[in-house]
Symmetry: C2
Subunit: 384 residues, 2 copies
């Protein structure tokens, strides 16, 4: 395994009625800005639970964070932060709200010009407001890491940044929040968590048997528990197991000492930028193409994944890899998530646009940094 550094100080408060513990985690004299999305938290009762827990605290609100949160929206929240002297941000929602809150935390204290540079130019975050989270949708893992992805709508650009300074001080995970989620969000969340694991696991072998098995543990449990959540939204135990899998998938624990890919995400972000396709769904589209085109780079790990997760051992290596890809697609489709571009009405011309972007940037991505625009084109054409 590689040398590594690891630190994850996020405090997790997990379980039934855990939202009530919120106030103990925020300084009593804080000026809180509660950040949320389109108002579903009011329908589900989470808003009321949060407000009850924060009784006596100074709380301002900022709502309207959209899926694939917009830079433009975040900057409006930054104005509120400055105007109201906010010193603590509380994200209440799913990954989009959490990602937005992280960017707002960094942008509010950014002093070197346009905060867009944090995303587009990779300028390091030097300070950020403290933040906490109440997670309502298991999927992105944002509740226990310092990563954030923001979209600049006007430019159809989706960019990521990361900093330990925007890790939540705490995240409240109440599995009962899953009870009110629509099928589509549950399915997206399962795929998202699954592909997060794959990005850190389906690379090449570096003799890291523990990390491999931990990753496989999350995959197996998602395959086992995910469909139970879809079948019965009030199954608390299944919801809890799914929720904890999604957090563990991206809190850094399975990433230590191993190579990471993330090409599926980078390509998927382009599909969201151009067509607004749900993030999880873009991953279900792209991953099978990455597995197909990078079957040489990833051979050993694809075969290990196929054998340990799906019991695929018959046939020569190429046949087994094809079977593994087919089985993965079958799993995503069983959740109601289609895996091909035409099923999302994406025209072939979009492939040209995306490929052009990668050609111009001369970026090479993937665990070996060897995936160029030509391979990205092959991957996307494989998904037609």
């Amino acid at each position: 395994m590689y040398n590594f550094e690891f630190r994850n100080p996020v405090k997790i408060l997990f379980g039934k009625e855990s939202i009530s513990k919120l106030s103990g985690e925020i300084p009593t004299d804080a000026n809180i800005l509660m950040i949320y999305g389109g108002g579903s938290i009011k329908r589900t009762g989470v808003y009321d639970q949060v407000m009850a827990a924060l009784k006596g605290c100074t709380v301002e609100e900022f709502s309207g964070i959209e899926a694939n949160p917009h830079y433009e929206t975040c900057m409006k929240a930054v104005d509120v932060v400055k105007e109201k002297n906010i010193d603590f941000l509380l994200a209440v929602g799913g990954g989009s709200v959490l990602d937005a809150t992280k960017f707002i935390a960094a942008a509010a204290l950014y002093e070197n010009g346009d905060p867009w540079d944090i995303l587009a130019a990779g300028v390091a975050v030097e300070k950020a407001l403290p933040l906490g989270a109440v997670l309502t949708l298991p999927a992105t893992g944002s509740e226990m890491n310092g990563n954030s992805v923001i979209t600049r709508a006007e430019r159809q650009e989706k960019k990521a940044f990361g900093s330990p300074l925007v890790m939540p001080q705490f995240s409240v995970l109440d599995p009962e929040c899953v009870f009110t989620l629509p099928d589509r969000q549950v399915a997206n969340g399962i795929v998202d968590a699954f592909v997060h694991v794959m990005e850190q696991y389906l690379t090449f072998k570096v003799n890291s048997p523990l990390q491999d098995r931990l990753a496989e543990s999350i995959l197996t449990t998602l395959i086992e528990e995910g469909p139970k959540v879809l079948a019965d939204r009030k199954n608390y135990e299944a919801a809890a197991n799914f929720m904890w899998c999604a957090t563990m998938a991206l809190n850094g624990m399975i990433a230590v000492g191993v190579p990471q890919d993330w090409s599926t995400h980078v390509i998927g972000h382009e599909l969201t930028a151009f067509h607004g396709i749900d993030h999880g769904r873009t991953l279900a589209i792209v991953l099978p193409g990455v597995m197909h085109v990078k079957r040489d780079n990833k051979k050993d790990k694809i075969l290990q994944y196929g054998e340990r997760i799906w019991g695929i051992t018959a046939g020569n290596e190429d046949e087994r890899i094809d079977a593994v890809i087919a089985r993965t697609v079958e799993f995503f489709e069983s959740l109601g998530v289609p895996c091909r571009l035409p099923e999302y009405d994406v025209p072939e011309s979009t492939i040209t646009k995306i490929v052009d972007r990668f050609k111009q940037s001369e970026a090479k991505i993937g665990e070996k940094q060897d995936m160029d625009y030509l391979e990205i084109e092959k991957i996307l054409r494989n998904r037609l």
Copy 2:
């Protein structure tokens, strides 16, 4: 799964030559007390590496921490802390040195009388000196948690305490430290890490499939990598995998939301207190007895462990449980660790002394808090 809270802010610096990164983790103006054991770090070169990394820093030394560190020795270190105005403790050694350092950190700032109360009366730690660690022996997991076990030699008592305030700020894990360890310490470390997992895993089912699989991942990897380390001490990859398993076994990650046992440890501590038997070896003695006597409480988990770890599926439940216990003993013995009391020259009279202690304290232990002195006697007699 149960509700839980989890937070582990320890920074891990893992890998070859990671000791050189030490100075970046300690405030430059700190008055450091470097705490170590009997001087093996001088023979192995770790002492020189640490001193080179701390060049320019103010470093006092306190050596002589023994295995199963003594309260009496720790209190001498507390005197040095006060005398020299120490404000940062650096533990360099194995679990004993780390545990001692944690107690010294808490005792040095204890203001309510005799610091022994932290151990014997469970008085909460309210403040502690900051500490860091350079781990030389994978085993106890102390490098990534807030737990400590201290022995009061004059009273033959071994007591534990825990506090987030004594979690190391950082721990340096260089697998090359394993190269110079004697067989006995490697074997003890493998057993110690293995039984740490068992204490958190071999209880009763609470529908926690992810935690179960994470625990099984560590067990499987220890079984696979441990013997490689014993066979070839210079196998860096095996040493690294073993080292990371030992840390992951007790950093809280597999304990979230599940019941925990720890009766093997509590009983094992008594064997160390009376006979000075190595901690890991006491666990190898006691665990098979606990599995035998608590076979009803633990039935489902013993059968799952037997099937998933050892492939034991033949026979009725009692036969399978017997086979699982035998296979576990066989594993410990294959490492050179005997599992019966007479092999350590422990007389039957010691059983009486230990049972009397539990009878007098009226303590009940184990994951259901239902193990009394009568069962403890059965467990120990099973190990004759």
